[in-house]
Amino acid sequence: MDVSVKRESLEAMRVFDLAKMPLRELNSALHAIAPGTNDTNFEVVNPRGSHAVAVGIDQPVTVEVRGSVGYYCAGMNDGGTVTVHGSAGPGVAENMMSGTVVIEGDASQYAGATGRGGLLVIKGNAASRCGISMKGIDIVVQGNIGHMSAFMGQSGHLVVLGNAGDALGDSLYEAKLFVRGEVKSLGADCIQKEMKPKHLKLLAELLEKAGITGVAPEEFKRYGSARTLYNFNIDNADAY
């Protein structure tokens, strides 16, 4: 990766080399940004699997991470655009509020967990529990997702171009799930639902937002909650 060329082309880019400075310097600089500032382009080199890279962003900054990261990258993001040019460890974009997080490689377990808003795009595969307890986030995975994804998802959208693992959407509330490939099994109270014109339109918008071309919304199936487990009913005890 030729970092120097990129650096010259973006004059205001601030580069943080995590092989030479502690993570705290990067995150403090991100947290110190005042509203309305122009100093919004950041680059992180040598992340080498570090945890908590670029967490707690609350301004519309752009962060390019050159390499793979560990736990909780871009957690709690509120308005930033974070791109990881590598893979991400567990809990990437956990509890995102708004903004965009793009993972060029794969993501480990619970990507986008509890996310309230924003867009998470994973270009490779996501492991288990992708979008667990999602509450408004949009997640687009170009590869496959692992088991127990969207568990107890409350709102938002999970779009998967590949396959889904076991127990998709277990105990789902109102998150909407779209899967293009095979679903290994559906979780309790998750069912396939009819793809209506409004869903095709919504899915087309999500794919466009994620920059995905050459894939038609008609290729997907929609899954959602059967709404039988919302309130406890003794007849459903086996399903919990």
Partner: protein
């Protein structure tokens, strides 16, 4: 929590650096488990010789005159002292006699592991201190596994540290906790296995040893473990020529693997792998839940 690492070399030219590479990987995982650390290194076996790694809480007293003490069992016996551990090398056909004599004469000494090639070192303390007191960085070998412990299921003691070894050249490291270990331990005791601790991981190691003693290979033993062990686990296992990985079906304990033409590496986190040669171009993946991965030098050759 706990951190585990493993390295299985394909490129023989890396063998002199195995101890150094594995030590770096282990020290990087310190913050996943700072209370104890351990490492197993598989060196090149030499024909007709066996190794027994032993440990003592009072090495000054227990290791004094050890070689002379064991000579009656095998005149070719050699003893190398390394801090609280010692590696006893003996003629393979006399190794059991040496071990029996050792247990009889120095009952305080504990056997960490034995076999043709494995040496096992473990102690309480930070990984960096543990690898340095045993000179792990200078060790050569074909494959090895390591563990940094944050204890949950049993006390912070040398014997509670990983790796656990329950059969010749077999050992195991574990991140997780087993929930049916008491029952399984009772069953294994009935089958003749012996236990040193109340630790859940020792049960997993003994289970695999028992399955392999019934004729299963490492891969088959790990497959049965998925049916018979209940709880959370990511295991990395070593045998004389093999290296295996398995995660429970829930797979909440982290795991990352990397493969190049030179090696197969395992880490609890990607951070453990970043100093390996050629990692930038390695195939890096997260092992699937309830899926057995294993490699064998002999089967590959």
């Amino acid at each position: 929590m706990c951190g585990i690492v493993g390295l299985f070399l394909k490129d023989r030219s890396l063998e002199p650096q195995l101890g150094a590479m594995l030590s770096d990987m282990l020290v990087t995982m310190t913050d996943r488990g700072p209370d104890s650390a351990g490492i197993a290194i598989y060196g090149a076996p030499s024909d007709g010789r066996a190794k027994i790694t032993v440990q003592s809480a009072d090495p000054k007293q227990d290791f004094a005159g050890l070689k002379a003490l064991l000579k009656p069992a095998d005149s070719s016996v050699a003893v190398e002292l390394k801090s609280t551990h010692a590696v006893i090398e003996a003629s393979a056909d006399k190794a059991q006699a040496v071990r029996d004599l050792l247990v009889q004469e120095r009952p305080e000494i504990r056997v960490m592991g034995s076999g043709d090639s494995v040496e096992i070192y473990k102690e309480v303390g930070l990984p960096k201190d543990v690898v340095s007191r045993f000179g792990i960085r200078q060790m050569a070998g074909t494959h090895g596994i390591g563990h940094t412990r944050m204890a949950t299921e049993s006390a912070v003691t040398t014997l509670g540290a990983h790796p656990f070894s329950t059969g010749a050249d077999q050992c195991l490291v574990h991140n997780g906790s087993l929930s049916n270990h008491n029952n399984l331990r009772r069953e294994l005791v009935r089958e003749g296995m012996t236990f040193e601790t109340q630790n859940d991981t020792e049960v997993a190691a003994a289970y695999l040893s028992a399955e392999m003693a019934k004729g299963k290979d490492l891969g088959q033993a790990l497959t049965s473990a998925l049916d018979d062990l209940d709880g959370f686990f990511t295991f990395v296992v070593g045998t004389k020529s093999g290296f295996g990985v398995v995660r429970d079906p829930i797979a909440c304990k982290p795991a990352v693997m990397a493969e190049t033409d030179q090696y197969i590496a395992f880490g609890s986190e990607y951070r453990a792998l970043v100093n390996l040669p050629g990692i930038e171009n390695a195939r890096v993946w997260e092992p699937e839940p309830a899926t057995v991965y294993f490699w064998d030098h002999e089967k590959a050759a």
